[in-house]
């Protein structure tokens, strides 16, 4: 055995064959802003505002040139001019208060009960299995069909409005809560037990925050459904309230007042819905 071993034949990586050398691929730098940057947010919101402005501009144009009868759709500028007068009137105050009471009562009844029923059905799986089909069927029923019966039972007033709105809002809230409870990782319950959490701590500090991604949309849908039913019932049976005012103004051919009412209802629904999302974000700052 010689001490001078031949050099090991290790292949030292060298430059690739010449046919591959220096092919210059021009890479155009995209001028589109990247997600997450400020420019991106400006672009998104700017485009949204432009679309909105364009929509209103089109309607304005159509109304002013007479393409759309002003008995159907008055010019947005005219509605905007009339809006402060409508809002300032004492009649509007009464209407708003009436609708707010009905909607508020419906939510105070439906949201907690919906969450509690959803949690209970998630906890006791047998009850959940038995009752879930009933809930999902209820989801499919347009509860408004029951209004004549409710009217007979409860008379003309705000009671049938609250009852039907609460019933309608209850369904999506309980369904979403149930889904949230069923999809919770069992580790959360084990963790709660292992740290000796009492029931209050288990739900408020672990289970409910964990369920927020399903809970918040449920409450949001519930709230909007309650608003829809409140307005619809006011169309049908009320003597006061925003829904009543919209339909009443229409029967008098007061189109500007009708549209003012519609605009206010739209604003209320946007504000409520945004408030719920914001609350959810506060609880789950990790999500976005």
């Amino acid at each position: 055995m010689t001490s001078k071993a031949p050099p090991a034949k290790t292949q030292v990586p060298t430059a690739p064959p010449s046919s591959f050398t220096e092919v210059h691929i021009p890479r155009a730098r995209s001028r589109r802003p990247r997600p997450g940057t400020k420019a991106y947010r400006v672009a998104v919101h700017g485009t949204q505002l432009t679309l909105l402005a364009a929509l209103f501009g089109l309607i304005e144009l159509a109304a002013r040139t007479g393409h759309v009868s002003k008995f159907v759709l008055p010019a947005p500028s005219e509605i905007a001019r009339k809006l402060p007068h409508v809002v300032a009137s004492s009649q509007f105050g009464g209407d708003l208060r009436q609708s707010a009471i009905e909607l508020g009562l419906a939510c105070i009844i439906a949201l907690p009960i919906g969450v509690i029923v959803g949690l209970a059905l998630g906890r006791w799986s047998l009850a959940g299995r038995v009752l879930e089909p009933f809930l999902s069927t209820l989801y499919a029923v347009p509860l408004l069909v029951f209004y004549p019966i409710l009217l007979v039972m409860m008379g003309l007033g705000w009671t049938p409005i609250v009852v039907i709105s609460a019933a309608a809002a209850f369904v999506p809230v309980s369904m979403n809560t149930l889904t949230g409870a069923k999809t919770l990782s069992p580790t959360f319950r084990k963790l709660a037990r292992s740290l000796n959490c009492n029931r209050r701590q288990t739900y408020l500090k672990i289970l409910l925050p964990a369920m927020v991604p399903l809970l918040v949309p449920g409450i949001q849908i519930g709230l909007i459904v309650a608003l829809v039913y409140t307005i619809a019932m006011e169309f049908l049976v009320a003597v006061q309230g925003l829904g009543f005012r919209i339909s009443y103004s229409y029967t008098l051919f007061q189109m500007v007042a009708t549209w003012a009412g519609i605009v206010i209802v739209v604003i209320i629904s946007i504000v409520l819905s945004t408030a719920i999302t914001a609350t959810g974000r506060r609880v789950r700052q990790d999500l976005d």
């Binding site: 990782s185 580790t187 959360f188 084990k190 963790l191 037990r193 292992s194 740290l195 000796n196 959490c197 701590q201 500090k205 672990i206 925050p209 964990a210 927020v212 609880v283 789950r284 700052q285 990790d286 999500l287």
Partner: protein, 272 residues
Amino acid sequence: MATDQIPEAQTSLGVSLHGIGMVFEAGGKRTEAIRSVSATMPPGRFVTVIGPSGCGKSTLLDLVFGLQMPTTGYVTIDGEPVTGPRRDMSMVFQEDSTLHWRTVQDNVAFGLEVAGVRKSERRRRAEAMIKLVGLSGFEDYRPRQLSGGMKQRVAIARSLVMEPRILLMDEPFGALDQQTRWRLGGELTRIWEETRNSVLFVTHDIHEAIRLSDVVWVMSERPSVLKTEMIVDLPRPRTDEVLSDPRFTQYAAQLWELLLPEIDTTSEAVSR
């Protein structure tokens, strides 16, 4: 008031299993998970439970903790029968159990918060523990911003901050890659050599079992019995150099020999 219930003392406790057996009945199917296990875990020891998958290792841990009650036999801790989770015991789970809406700091302090410990003290104890598990600088991060290994560090810190006299660990590194797993094992060894509480650790990783433990309990396949208790006589403090100790290799070979027949029959049972 509630603060008093958190044990400050670090005296550890011994655990005794008195012929425990566990049978599950679901959908008319009867599964005997554990036939009969009797063993004693002396206080202040690191004991690892190893066995083929599905042999009831995790169930055994739940029984010691009192999350479930055995169908036969009973568990005692310092002579007292276990009826439910005790305040001086703590558990680390295999799956991610961090609360994603809380920061690392608030996750680690969670058990203290639940127990009603004052905010200033919570902060102090959590910070010390975060440092111990090597997460300093990540106090304000949220779990989603952390790797799997870091999340398990958070979970371990959350258990240790309660100053448990018995720590139960259910495959805490099971979901991690091998290198992270080995490194975290080393850190757990370092931490344990400081705290010296009793630890019951479940794993199916032979090297991990030897590296960590004073005693290894080898379980048979289901319905499981305690096959052997193996004393691991390796010097402490145990560093990575333990790998080159010839005894380490011997222990590994012994464990393989004990486990191979169990693994074979289990896989047959599965493929049938």
